[in-house]
Amino acid sequence: MKLSRQTKRNLNSIKIFTISTSIGAVILALLDHGLKPFAILDDLIIGFLFGLIISTIDIYFFSGNIRRVSFTTSLIIRTLFFTVISAALVILVGILNIGSRFGKQYYDVIRDNGGSLMAYIRSEEFSEIIIYLILLSFFINFILQINRLLGQNVLLNYLRGKYQFPLEEELIFMFLDLKSSTTIAEKLGLLKNHEFLNDFFHDMTEPILEYKGRIYQYVGDEIVLTWKPSDGLDYNNCINCFFAIQNKIILKKDYYIKEYGVYPEFKAGLHMGPVITGEMGEIKKDIVYHGDTINTAARIQSECNNFRKRVLISLDLKNELDLEGHFITESMGNIILRGKEKELELFSVDEIHPL
């Protein structure tokens, strides 16, 4: 059976989440009870089931529906949800424990009014566990929300101090720009235009994640994406990403026309080269990129209109990609970069079977 890329990605995140909750539960058991095999087993079961259930629901249910909910609402819903699931699991394991300890059938334990199960739920130990679970769920979800505000992996990079001292790295940049955005903005008015852009950026998210791109910055109606070369060159991800976005928008064209009277048309310039990456600023910290590569990518994007092409890439990037047989490329000749003596050969890229 061949799994789609998205399913693979989802399964992978479920795996990672489940493993970490299991490990976390074992550590808690060790801290709480010391080396008691049964306590560890209990917590391991809880941790494993918790991770599995939570991440599955999160990926297949929440990520579609909860996205557009505000920060605090989402935080509260998720915290409640985490707490309920984990409390249910604690009770479940409690039933299993009581059952095996007293040699009772499990349904007897549940039916046993005022018996050992109720006593357990009323016990101080249980309420302590619940308070602990609420706090933990809140903190985990808070961090997850923050992670989303900052963008993929950014929080991790800050924690590791990866870019505390600037370092040089090779990156692929895509500048993706809305066509005739001024006209659209004038037509829609400011408020509607914002919603239009938000919808557009929203629809872009899935293709970007699927093709391992990372959102660097929103600059007005422009979005800047980056890839590590290994991610971006693999399966021509960076090029595929553009067309995946385009196809997604084409599929939703009717929605845009109905809602706004226009649909987003856009163009992109891609380039690959060395940049300096580092943390910057104090009252607002950012991990930023500096270097000619960025200016060049922006410049390539601005050439799209002149050549009447949707995607232009530089020779440097084309040489690294494996486009032969997958896409149609055409040389656009050399352009002279602003303020540079250097010339750069550009290529247009098109799908072989456009949607």
């Binding site: 996205r67 505000s70 920060f71 605090t72 609402t73 903190f139 923050i146 989303r148 505000l149 900052l150 963008g151 993929q152 950014v154 929080l155 800050y158 924690l159 590791r160 101090g161 505390q164 600037p166 040089e168 001024t182 903005a185 400011l190 408020l191 235009n193 914002h194 919603e195 852009l197 938000n198 950026f201 929203h202 998210t205 970007i208 994640l209 959102i215 910055q217 929103y218 600059v219 007005g220 109606d221 060395p274 940049v275 300096i276 580092g278 943390e279 910057m280 600023g281 104090e282 009252i283 607002k284 910290k285 950012d286 930023v288 500096h290 270097g291 000619d292 960025i294 200016n295 303020g339």
Partner: protein
């Protein structure tokens, strides 16, 4: 004089030389000239500001102490007195450390290092204060000396088996969380997190805002001269040095775009105390006072220009996997275009008519009318003014 000099040290030591001693030398060398005395004056105003903020924090500390003690031990007279003194001492000491030591020394450390050090310091201050308050109370009740109390069986019981353990665990968790939030707040930009939490911009809102586009002059040339790595360091230290002035003028850093910084003020905040214009000249003065450092380190001093405009924007959250609160509107484009006119008009700061119409400019600033301009992509002309300071 001696006192103010001492107090102004942490304020002035915002030049981030690699080691402490070279900073000190720099200061003694430059202490003869006018700039330094200017600095001290600016410093003492800041010292007042900082002390005020420390006192404000202490007030909240007292309330937090009351809440904590009240909830965990009940509101009897002894506990209330302990909570008030304890809460005050803890927040006052932490406030002093934050404002006078951490703010200038800590800025360039790694996220997790700062988090760990801060948490440890907080926990240390809290535990010491709790011990001091306990010992003082016990000593006065039993009418014995502090040393005797410290050696007593009661003290050992308090530390090992009594309330201290609860307080300590609470202190660790609390300090960690507070510091984590503070760090996150810095990553997102000042006051951005509360906006997400309150959901203020979850649905886009129309606002009036002032924008400055502050741009490095001849950055391409500088970039070529320094090479990419040094250019990054150059920009980083420039961004660090301007932060203080932006905060002092209550500006919000919206975005760094390459070597450009976009600063904004909501509603009329930018016009109050002529904040938006003062901000530019404060930055300018600050960079001028650090000229030596820049030319020593990079061989170049940053020169910059700015465009200012005021108008309607839409503010709202945008994006999924990376969320941001963004501004959309013509004001931004216009401010950027105004900034772009600086070179041609040979001005450092150009403002639009909208800015001047909304504020009374103090006499220290000189206005020069530059005429009406048709900016790129615009149909209506806009009147621009150059601003300079005596």
């Amino acid at each position: 004089m001696k006192v103010s000099k001492f107090l102004s040290v942490p304020v002035c030591s915002c030049n981030f030389s690699e080691n402490f001693f070279s900073q000190f030398e720099e200061k003694t060398v430059s202490s003869g000239n006018n700039l330094y005395s200017l600095h001290i004056m600016a410093g003492s105003v800041k010292v007042k500001q900082k002390i005020r903020s420390v006192l404000l924090i202490s007030f909240f500390g007292i309330i937090a102490g009351l809440l904590f003690v009240g909830l965990s031990f009940g509101f009897d007279a002894v506990h209330v007195v302990k909570a008030v003194t304890g809460g005050f001492i803890i927040t006052f000491v932490i406030g002093l450390i934050e404002n006078f030591i951490f703010q200038s020394k800590f800025r360039k450390l790694r996220f997790s290092t700062i988090l760990v050090i801060r948490t440890l310091v907080y926990v240390l201050v809290i535990s010491l204060t709790v011990i001091i308050v306990w010992v003082t109370h016990e000593s006065s009740v039993n009418k014995v000396g502090f040393i005797t109390t410290l050696g007593s069986e009661d003290f050992r019981y308090f530390i090992l088996k009594g309330d201290f353990k609860v307080i300590l665990i609470f202190a660790i968790v609390f300090s960690f969380l507070v510091n984590f939030f503070m760090q996150i707040n810095n990553l997102l930009g000042r006051n951005v997190l509360p906006k997400y939490i309150s959901g203020k911009y979850h649905f886009p809102v129309e606002e009036l805002r002032t924008f400055i586009f502050l741009d490095l002059k001849s950055s391409t040339t500088i970039g070529e001269k320094l090479g990419p790595l040094d250019f990054h360091r150059f920009i980083n230290s420039y961004f660090f040095d301007i932060d203080e002035s932006i905060v002092a003028c209550s500006g919000e850093v919206y975005q760094y775009v390459g070597d450009e910084v976009v600063i904004s003020w909501k509603d009329k905040k930018g016009f109050k105390d002529s904040n938006c214009i003062r901000c530019f000249f404060m930055i300018s003065d600050k960079i001028k006072s650090l000229e030596m450092k820049y030319s020593e380190k990079f061989g170049i001093t940053p020169e910059f220009k700015a465009g200012l405009h005021y108008g309607k924007v839409i503010t709202g959250e945008i994006g999924d996997s990376k969320k941001e609160i963004v501004f959309h509107g013509d004001v931004l484009n216009t401010a950027a275009r105004i900034q772009a006119e600086c070179n041609a008009l040979n001005q450092k700061l150009i403002v639009s008519e909208e800015i001047l119409n909304n504020m009374d400019l103090p006499s220290e600033f000189k206005t020069k009318s530059l005429g009406e301009f048709l900016l790129r992509g615009k149909e209506q002309g806009i009147k621009l003014y150059g601003i300079s300071k005596e």
